[in-house]
Amino acid sequence: MTNTKLQTQAEKVWALNGNEALAYGALHAGVAYFAHYPGSPVNGIEPVLKQLNTQHAAQITFNDALNEHVAACAAMGASMTGARTMLVMKHVGLNIAADPLNYVGYAGIKGGMLIVVGTDPGANSSTGEEDVHWYAKQFNLPLFEPTSPQALYDCCRDGFALSEELGLPILIFVTGLICHQSTRVQTQDITPVKRAYYFEKDRDRYINVGQRAVQNHRLLLEKMAVYAQTHAFLKVDGPSNAPLAVITRGNTTLHFAEIQTYIPQLANCTRIQLNGVYPLPTAALLPLLQDKTEIIVMEDQDGFVEYLLKMEMYNVLSAKIQGKNLFPAYGELRINELLEILCAYFGVAYPFAGLPSLPIPERLGTFCEGCPHTGSYFAIEQALPEQERIIGGDIGCSSLPPFRADWLLCMNAGIGLAQGMAPFVSGQKLVSTGGDGSFFHGGLLAVLNAVQNKVNLVHLVFDNKSVAMTGHQASASTQVAYANLLRSLGVASFAEASAFHPKELEALVREKEQLEGVHVIWVSGACAQIPDARSKFRRANYAPQIDASKCGLCTLCYEALACPAIDQNDLGQFQIDLSRCMRCGVCHEICPNDAIDLGAKKPQA
């Protein structure tokens, strides 16, 4: 198999966001293999690259992996044949992929390999804001943090060649702010070298066991030590002889450029923008920092660069190094927050005053109108009394409304924690939940583990037929005979239910909850956000409405079901917004007063 040459074209200027810039960079560098597990904020790379692949007949092989561990292994395998490879996941996914990636540096790679990781300081689109910079040090791989879509494009396009030069994958971390930021990007096609892919046996490199692993570890450390002395990816502005230096990376780089204009003391500092964050380019930094009296490291999250600076240059710098003593290690660190901190530090009056905030009600997460999870959660809550029930929650759309589940930590924490809890909560009613994406990501093993350990547990799989939250990637549930699969694992019972018939699901949960063993209820209902979802629901031709004369204001539909298509007018009456209603019929089924009329059936179009 060979990768055909792409047509070389003139430079082009596009308005691209960070994800799109990465896709273009990969295309123009001749990426041949793309493996990923979808996750915000980098879930936008895959669909764009697939589109470009079709448009340009680029012959890229895609691996829509079921989890990050599989994706990482597959990407390493592709690279070992000489294929240029891109591996994409979000920050928490790096935990899953860490096992093979701990050793990719030992084995080395052949075809250039970029590992793109979406980070999320501030947890704007994630369950958490874990700082994964430490993995760069753990893996001993070069880490880049481009600060704009243009920089992402350049880094991606040129990163493959650097990766091949080093024989190591390159880590590229990108925040949600930069992924979703749109700016003008200048692209330039390059001519990928025509490659013959071939796996060349090299057992000294690829078999990493015992002393061979130790030997390859030593070689990796030596290679990275040389790299740190010979490679520096940084940009220096301002006078080099200023007593103060400010070091930035990622988001803070762009913020600082603007903040600098508001604080006179920062106007003439030496500004160092670290694009290559790991390893710390100590040889390049030494002449820039050795005569400083003060160094401020301005970065979000844990303070990775500050830590490296203090650890690796402690005996050669006399400057006072500041960082996390000034800036919080949590949250996104918005530009205004940084400006406030630095104004206070330098004794400058904060230059702006906004209007006072008003007590606007928080807009908590909700399920979408017609979401299958709406009926599913309603059924569980109706089946199990609030004071007694325990609901293990899981990552994904089913976790959007807060406080429906009792915990929410990571993928498959629902069934994971529940099976440890089960032996000790016989006086309570315990169920665990998870989506179909989570089930195939690792939940399958967790079910088997529960079976083998003779746990008493009801586990509900919410199957909305796609990995809905990250862009409706295909779900394995549409291809796998999951009923047979689960029965073969030895579950005590397997039952299927419709998310749009909560009364039936409620009865099923109540029944199974009293039994011993592992009972799996597979709750199906397609995501309401898929194209033409409205027409796919069974009451598509109806126009439901609430009859105010029958409504007892019990709030079951409004608060317990919490469908966003039901709102409350200024008179306190509940009403259905037909422009939003997806005609799933769940509210009609659960109303105790029969006050929700499905309306006259309209003729079929």
Partner: protein
């Protein structure tokens, strides 16, 4: 003339804010202006709080300077509100002269108990002292035969007209 135009667009999931920002980006790029935006999609697919922060650089000097895509509260030129509660949520980004262009569409956070102490949305809007254009842009779009996606475009066009910027920025054309 202003060096740059700072715009915040606020609304709820499903109103097409991110799509509009892409349209605006493309239009400004075609008109020769640098544009930068930060988009926050919120934690919900539908009816969650969504906003985008945008800067249009009207001078070459500003365009060439490295800039954050985020806006500092109190520095906004225009607040475009597609939903009234969300419009009010972002008032701290405004200063006393920030132009507010707000659609009259109102969607109280679903599943939320309405506090008896919470004034009506109209009360808040009546008490605003900023330059304010409040109109039913959805109906206006319908009257013109345009789809819902035209609504943020109409708000934007209203803003640049009101600020006297049409000699620099061409109004966008709804489809």
């Amino acid at each position: 003339m202003k060096q740059e135009l700072r715009i915040l667009i606020a609304g709820v999931g499903g109103q097409g804010i991110h799509g509009f920002v892409r349209v605006l980006q493309q239009a400004m790029t075609e008109q020769g202006y640098e544009f930068i935006s930060a988009r926050y999609k919120g934690g919900a697919q539908s009816l969650g709080s969504v906003h985008a922060e945008c800067k249009i650089f009207l001078s070459a000097a500003q365009a060439n300077a490295q800039q954050s895509s985020q806006l500092i509260p109190g520095t906004l030129d225009v607040l475009l509100g597609l939903e009234r509660w969300e419009t009010l949520r972002f008032l701290p980004f405004c200063h006393s002269n920030t132009l507010i262009v707000a659609d009259t569409f109102t969607e109280f956070p679903p599943g939320t108990k309405r506090s008896k102490d919470l004034p009506s949305i109209d009360t808040y809007f009546v008490n605003l002292t900023n330059p304010l254009i409040s109109r039913d842009f959805i109906q206006l779009a319908q009257e013109k035969g345009w789809s819902k996606t035209a609504v943020p475009i109409l708000l934007f066009n209203e803003a640049i007209r009101s600020l006297g910027l049409t000699q620099y920025i061409q109004p966008l054309k709804p489809l």
